[in-house]
Amino acid sequence: MSPDETAKELVLAFADDELCVGQNHSWWIAVGPFLEEDLAFSSIAQDELGHARALYSLVSNDVDRVAYGRPHSEYRSAHLAELLCHDWTKALARHVLHDLAEEIRWTALLNSSWPELKAVATRALAEEQFHIHHGVSLARRLLSSPDGYMRLAPVLSELAPLGREYFAGSDVGLVASGVLNASLADQERTWMERVEEVFDEFELSIDWGATRPAQGRAGVRSEDFLALHDEMVAVLRIDPLATW
Protein backbone atom coordinates (compact mmCIF):
# COMPACT_ATOMS: atom_id res chain seq x y z
CA MET A 1 0.00 0.00 0.00
CA SER A 2 1.20 3.51 -0.78
CA PRO A 3 1.32 5.99 2.14
CA ASP A 4 -1.76 7.66 0.63
CA GLU A 5 -3.73 4.42 0.70
CA THR A 6 -2.53 3.64 4.22
CA ALA A 7 -3.67 7.09 5.36
CA LYS A 8 -7.10 6.55 3.78
CA GLU A 9 -7.43 3.18 5.53
CA LEU A 10 -6.55 4.82 8.84
CA VAL A 11 -9.19 7.51 8.34
CA LEU A 12 -11.78 4.96 7.28
CA ALA A 13 -11.15 2.81 10.35
CA PHE A 14 -11.42 5.87 12.62
CA ALA A 15 -14.67 6.88 10.88
CA ASP A 16 -16.10 3.38 11.29
CA ASP A 17 -15.28 3.45 15.02
CA GLU A 18 -17.06 6.79 15.35
CA LEU A 19 -20.08 5.65 13.34
CA CYS A 20 -20.53 2.51 15.43
CA VAL A 21 -20.09 4.30 18.76
CA GLY A 22 -22.40 7.15 17.71
CA GLN A 23 -25.05 4.68 16.61
CA ASN A 24 -24.59 2.62 19.77
CA HIS A 25 -24.82 5.68 22.07
CA SER A 26 -28.03 6.74 20.34
CA TRP A 27 -29.71 3.57 21.61
CA TRP A 28 -29.95 5.39 24.97
CA ILE A 29 -32.02 8.31 23.67
CA ALA A 30 -35.06 8.69 25.93
CA VAL A 31 -34.08 5.75 28.16
CA GLY A 32 -30.98 7.24 29.85
CA PRO A 33 -30.68 6.78 33.62
CA PHE A 34 -31.98 10.34 34.27
CA LEU A 35 -33.05 13.27 32.13
CA GLU A 36 -29.83 15.30 32.32
CA GLU A 37 -27.68 12.26 31.52
CA ASP A 38 -30.02 11.35 28.69
CA LEU A 39 -29.54 14.77 27.09
CA ALA A 40 -25.77 14.72 27.57
CA PHE A 41 -25.30 11.20 26.25
CA SER A 42 -27.54 11.80 23.22
CA SER A 43 -25.58 14.93 22.43
CA ILE A 44 -22.32 12.99 22.59
CA ALA A 45 -23.84 10.40 20.23
CA GLN A 46 -24.57 13.17 17.77
CA ASP A 47 -21.01 14.51 18.07
CA GLU A 48 -19.57 11.08 17.31
CA LEU A 49 -21.74 10.74 14.21
CA GLY A 50 -20.54 14.20 13.19
CA HIS A 51 -16.94 13.02 13.54
CA ALA A 52 -17.75 9.99 11.40
CA ARG A 53 -19.25 12.14 8.68
CA ALA A 54 -16.30 14.55 8.69
CA LEU A 55 -13.84 11.65 8.38
CA TYR A 56 -15.81 9.79 5.69
CA SER A 57 -16.01 12.96 3.61
CA LEU A 58 -12.19 13.02 3.50
CA VAL A 59 -12.08 9.68 1.71
CA SER A 60 -15.33 9.62 -0.27
CA ASN A 61 -17.68 11.91 -2.16
CA ASP A 62 -20.60 9.66 -1.24
CA VAL A 63 -20.72 9.62 2.54
CA ASP A 64 -23.99 7.70 2.76
CA ARG A 65 -22.73 4.93 0.55
CA VAL A 66 -19.47 4.54 2.39
CA ALA A 67 -21.15 4.75 5.81
CA TYR A 68 -24.09 2.46 5.12
CA GLY A 69 -23.62 0.71 1.82
CA ARG A 70 -20.44 -1.32 2.12
CA PRO A 71 -20.38 -5.10 2.48
CA HIS A 72 -19.83 -5.92 6.16
CA SER A 73 -16.34 -7.25 5.49
CA GLU A 74 -15.27 -3.81 4.25
CA TYR A 75 -15.96 -2.11 7.57
CA ARG A 76 -12.84 -1.59 9.70
CA SER A 77 -14.41 -0.81 13.09
CA ALA A 78 -12.82 -2.07 16.30
CA HIS A 79 -14.98 -4.64 18.07
CA LEU A 80 -15.25 -2.45 21.17
CA ALA A 81 -16.97 0.21 19.05
CA GLU A 82 -19.43 -2.35 17.67
CA LEU A 83 -20.36 -3.73 21.07
CA LEU A 84 -24.08 -3.36 21.85
CA CYS A 85 -24.28 -1.81 25.31
CA HIS A 86 -27.87 -2.13 26.44
CA ASP A 87 -26.61 -2.13 30.00
CA TRP A 88 -25.81 1.35 31.29
CA THR A 89 -22.64 0.28 33.11
CA LYS A 90 -21.26 -1.10 29.88
CA ALA A 91 -22.33 1.94 27.88
CA LEU A 92 -20.57 4.25 30.33
CA ALA A 93 -17.40 2.13 30.47
CA ARG A 94 -17.14 2.02 26.67
CA HIS A 95 -17.85 5.77 26.47
CA VAL A 96 -14.93 6.54 28.77
CA LEU A 97 -12.49 4.11 27.13
CA HIS A 98 -13.51 5.23 23.64
CA ASP A 99 -13.21 8.95 24.34
CA LEU A 100 -9.88 8.63 26.14
CA ALA A 101 -8.65 6.84 23.00
CA GLU A 102 -10.21 9.43 20.72
CA GLU A 103 -8.40 12.24 22.49
CA ILE A 104 -5.08 10.55 21.79
CA ARG A 105 -5.99 9.68 18.20
CA TRP A 106 -7.07 13.25 17.37
CA THR A 107 -4.02 14.67 19.11
CA ALA A 108 -1.82 12.54 16.84
CA LEU A 109 -3.47 14.27 13.86
CA LEU A 110 -3.35 17.81 15.21
CA ASN A 111 -0.30 18.71 13.15
CA SER A 112 -0.99 16.33 10.30
CA SER A 113 0.51 17.06 6.90
CA TRP A 114 -2.95 16.28 5.46
CA PRO A 115 -4.53 19.74 5.91
CA GLU A 116 -8.20 18.69 5.79
CA LEU A 117 -7.55 15.93 8.31
CA LYS A 118 -5.74 18.39 10.56
CA ALA A 119 -8.78 20.71 10.43
CA VAL A 120 -11.17 17.90 11.36
CA ALA A 121 -8.89 16.89 14.26
CA THR A 122 -8.72 20.44 15.63
CA ARG A 123 -12.49 20.74 15.63
CA ALA A 124 -13.11 17.27 17.08
CA LEU A 125 -10.57 17.66 19.85
CA ALA A 126 -12.46 20.67 21.21
CA GLU A 127 -15.58 18.50 21.59
CA GLU A 128 -13.52 15.69 23.03
CA GLN A 129 -12.59 17.77 26.09
CA PHE A 130 -16.27 17.84 27.00
CA HIS A 131 -16.86 14.14 26.30
CA ILE A 132 -13.99 13.21 28.59
CA HIS A 133 -15.04 15.64 31.31
CA HIS A 134 -18.51 14.10 31.23
CA GLY A 135 -17.51 10.44 31.06
CA VAL A 136 -14.64 10.58 33.52
CA SER A 137 -16.57 12.68 36.07
CA LEU A 138 -19.50 10.28 36.06
CA ALA A 139 -17.33 7.15 36.13
CA ARG A 140 -15.23 8.46 39.02
CA ARG A 141 -18.34 9.51 40.90
CA LEU A 142 -19.80 6.01 40.57
CA LEU A 143 -16.52 4.28 41.43
CA SER A 144 -16.45 6.31 44.66
CA SER A 145 -19.55 4.54 45.97
CA PRO A 146 -19.37 0.86 47.02
CA ASP A 147 -22.33 -0.16 44.86
CA GLY A 148 -21.08 1.80 41.86
CA TYR A 149 -17.61 0.33 42.26
CA MET A 150 -18.95 -3.22 42.37
CA ARG A 151 -20.82 -2.69 39.13
CA LEU A 152 -18.47 -0.46 37.11
CA ALA A 153 -14.97 -1.62 38.07
CA PRO A 154 -15.25 -5.16 36.64
CA VAL A 155 -16.81 -3.89 33.40
CA LEU A 156 -14.07 -1.29 32.90
CA SER A 157 -11.42 -3.97 33.50
CA GLU A 158 -13.15 -6.35 31.11
CA LEU A 159 -13.59 -3.87 28.25
CA ALA A 160 -10.29 -2.00 28.52
CA PRO A 161 -8.15 -4.61 26.70
CA LEU A 162 -10.59 -4.54 23.75
CA GLY A 163 -9.82 -0.85 23.35
CA ARG A 164 -6.30 -1.71 22.20
CA GLU A 165 -7.82 -2.46 18.82
CA TYR A 166 -8.35 1.26 18.27
CA PHE A 167 -4.62 1.33 17.63
CA ALA A 168 -4.51 -1.67 15.29
CA GLY A 169 -3.97 -1.36 11.55
CA SER A 170 -1.09 -0.17 9.43
CA ASP A 171 0.73 3.11 9.97
CA VAL A 172 3.67 2.30 7.70
CA GLY A 173 5.12 5.52 6.32
CA LEU A 174 2.55 7.73 8.04
CA VAL A 175 4.84 9.17 10.70
CA ALA A 176 7.59 9.76 8.12
CA SER A 177 5.19 11.56 5.79
CA GLY A 178 3.79 13.61 8.68
CA VAL A 179 0.20 12.38 8.33
CA LEU A 180 0.50 11.00 11.87
CA ASN A 181 2.43 12.79 14.60
CA ALA A 182 2.76 9.61 16.68
CA SER A 183 2.83 5.95 15.65
CA LEU A 184 -0.14 3.73 16.53
CA ALA A 185 2.06 1.81 18.99
CA ASP A 186 3.04 5.06 20.73
CA GLN A 187 -0.58 6.19 20.82
CA GLU A 188 -1.62 2.87 22.29
CA ARG A 189 1.00 3.13 25.03
CA THR A 190 -0.13 6.70 25.84
CA TRP A 191 -3.75 5.53 25.99
CA MET A 192 -3.07 2.62 28.33
CA GLU A 193 -1.09 4.92 30.64
CA ARG A 194 -3.89 7.49 30.51
CA VAL A 195 -6.57 4.92 31.39
CA GLU A 196 -4.47 3.73 34.33
CA GLU A 197 -3.81 7.29 35.45
CA VAL A 198 -7.48 8.35 35.30
CA PHE A 199 -8.51 5.40 37.47
CA ASP A 200 -5.32 5.20 39.51
CA GLU A 201 -6.92 5.82 42.90
CA PHE A 202 -9.55 3.13 42.27
CA GLU A 203 -7.02 0.33 41.79
CA LEU A 204 -8.65 -1.36 38.83
CA SER A 205 -6.92 -4.56 37.86
CA ILE A 206 -6.63 -4.38 34.09
CA ASP A 207 -5.09 -7.30 32.26
CA TRP A 208 -4.14 -5.68 28.96
CA GLY A 209 -3.36 -9.06 27.38
CA ALA A 210 -0.28 -10.11 25.45
CA THR A 211 -1.48 -9.17 22.00
CA ARG A 212 -3.49 -6.35 20.50
CA PRO A 213 -6.84 -7.51 19.09
CA ALA A 214 -7.12 -6.65 15.39
CA GLN A 215 -9.95 -8.73 13.90
CA GLY A 216 -12.28 -5.81 13.33
CA ARG A 217 -9.60 -3.86 11.53
CA ALA A 218 -9.00 -6.92 9.34
CA GLY A 219 -12.64 -7.07 8.22
CA VAL A 220 -14.04 -9.65 10.63
CA ARG A 221 -17.23 -8.33 12.18
CA SER A 222 -18.23 -9.03 15.77
CA GLU A 223 -21.49 -10.76 16.64
CA ASP A 224 -23.11 -7.46 17.58
CA PHE A 225 -22.35 -5.70 14.30
CA LEU A 226 -25.21 -7.27 12.35
CA ALA A 227 -27.90 -5.95 14.70
CA LEU A 228 -26.18 -2.59 14.93
CA HIS A 229 -25.89 -2.24 11.17
CA ASP A 230 -29.49 -3.35 10.61
CA GLU A 231 -30.69 -0.57 12.87
CA MET A 232 -28.33 1.89 11.22
CA VAL A 233 -29.69 1.29 7.73
CA ALA A 234 -33.36 0.83 8.73
CA VAL A 235 -34.37 4.31 7.55
CA LEU A 236 -32.36 4.02 4.38
CA ARG A 237 -34.15 0.78 3.54
CA ILE A 238 -37.51 2.51 3.87
CA ASP A 239 -36.38 5.62 1.98
CA PRO A 240 -33.24 5.19 -0.10
CA LEU A 241 -33.15 8.92 -0.83
CA ALA A 242 -33.01 9.94 2.84
CA THR A 243 -29.99 12.05 3.84
CA TRP A 244 -28.39 12.66 7.25
Binding site: E36, A40, S43, F130, R141
Partner: protein, 90 residues
Amino acid sequence: MNTYEVFLKKAGKEPFSHAGSLDAPDDELALAYARETYGRRSEGEQMWVVDRSAVLVGDAINLAMADRDHRHNDGHLVAELRQSDPGHTR
Protein backbone atom coordinates in the same frame (compact mmCIF):
# COMPACT_ATOMS: atom_id res chain seq x y z
CA MET B 1 -28.78 14.30 43.59
CA ASN B 2 -28.55 18.04 44.17
CA THR B 3 -30.62 20.64 42.39
CA TYR B 4 -28.82 23.44 40.58
CA GLU B 5 -30.00 26.67 38.99
CA VAL B 6 -28.45 27.64 35.67
CA PHE B 7 -27.95 31.21 34.47
CA LEU B 8 -26.74 32.21 31.04
CA LYS B 9 -25.44 35.49 29.71
CA LYS B 10 -25.49 36.37 26.05
CA ALA B 11 -22.84 38.54 24.46
CA GLY B 12 -22.93 42.29 24.99
CA LYS B 13 -24.72 44.15 27.77
CA GLU B 14 -27.46 41.58 28.37
CA PRO B 15 -27.57 40.59 32.04
CA PHE B 16 -27.39 36.98 33.23
CA SER B 17 -30.83 35.44 33.11
CA HIS B 18 -32.25 32.27 34.57
CA ALA B 19 -32.18 29.43 32.04
CA GLY B 20 -33.69 26.71 34.23
CA SER B 21 -32.73 24.10 36.78
CA LEU B 22 -31.34 20.58 36.74
CA ASP B 23 -30.40 17.69 38.99
CA ALA B 24 -26.83 16.41 39.20
CA PRO B 25 -24.86 14.21 41.59
CA ASP B 26 -22.10 16.79 42.13
CA ASP B 27 -20.77 20.21 41.06
CA GLU B 28 -18.54 18.85 38.32
CA LEU B 29 -21.37 16.97 36.62
CA ALA B 30 -23.72 19.91 37.19
CA LEU B 31 -21.48 21.97 34.90
CA ALA B 32 -21.44 19.21 32.29
CA TYR B 33 -25.20 18.79 32.38
CA ALA B 34 -25.82 22.54 32.36
CA ARG B 35 -23.94 22.78 29.08
CA GLU B 36 -25.96 20.01 27.48
CA THR B 37 -29.33 20.91 29.00
CA TYR B 38 -29.33 24.67 28.48
CA GLY B 39 -26.29 25.66 26.44
CA ARG B 40 -25.79 23.11 23.69
CA ARG B 41 -26.98 25.49 20.98
CA SER B 42 -24.67 28.27 22.15
CA GLU B 43 -27.48 30.06 24.02
CA GLY B 44 -24.97 31.91 26.14
CA GLU B 45 -21.35 32.89 26.22
CA GLN B 46 -21.10 32.85 30.01
CA MET B 47 -22.70 30.46 32.46
CA TRP B 48 -23.33 30.44 36.20
CA VAL B 49 -24.41 27.25 37.89
CA VAL B 50 -25.63 27.68 41.47
CA ASP B 51 -26.37 24.98 44.01
CA ARG B 52 -29.96 25.74 44.97
CA SER B 53 -29.14 25.30 48.65
CA ALA B 54 -26.90 28.39 48.31
CA VAL B 55 -29.79 30.53 47.12
CA LEU B 56 -31.23 32.90 49.76
CA VAL B 57 -34.99 32.76 49.49
CA GLY B 58 -36.93 35.91 50.35
CA ASP B 59 -40.10 35.67 52.43
CA ALA B 60 -43.11 37.98 52.83
CA ILE B 61 -41.13 40.46 54.96
CA ASN B 62 -38.61 40.95 52.15
CA LEU B 63 -41.20 41.29 49.43
CA ALA B 64 -42.96 44.58 48.74
CA MET B 65 -46.69 44.67 49.42
CA ALA B 66 -48.79 44.57 46.28
CA ASP B 67 -51.08 47.52 47.07
CA ARG B 68 -48.51 50.33 47.17
CA ASP B 69 -49.49 51.98 43.92
CA HIS B 70 -47.70 55.23 44.80
CA ARG B 71 -44.55 53.28 43.87
CA HIS B 72 -45.85 53.00 40.36
CA ASN B 73 -46.13 56.69 39.59
CA ASP B 74 -46.27 57.03 35.82
CA GLY B 75 -46.56 60.81 35.82
CA HIS B 76 -50.17 61.00 34.64
CA LEU B 77 -51.20 63.44 37.38
CA VAL B 78 -48.49 65.89 36.33
CA ALA B 79 -49.39 65.41 32.66
CA GLU B 80 -53.07 66.13 33.33
CA LEU B 81 -52.19 69.22 35.33
CA ARG B 82 -50.01 70.59 32.55
CA GLN B 83 -52.68 69.94 29.93
CA SER B 84 -55.32 71.80 32.00
CA ASP B 85 -52.92 74.70 32.52
CA PRO B 86 -50.79 75.16 29.39
CA GLY B 87 -49.25 78.41 30.63
CA HIS B 88 -47.90 76.80 33.81
CA THR B 89 -49.40 79.59 35.88
CA ARG B 90 -49.77 77.47 38.92
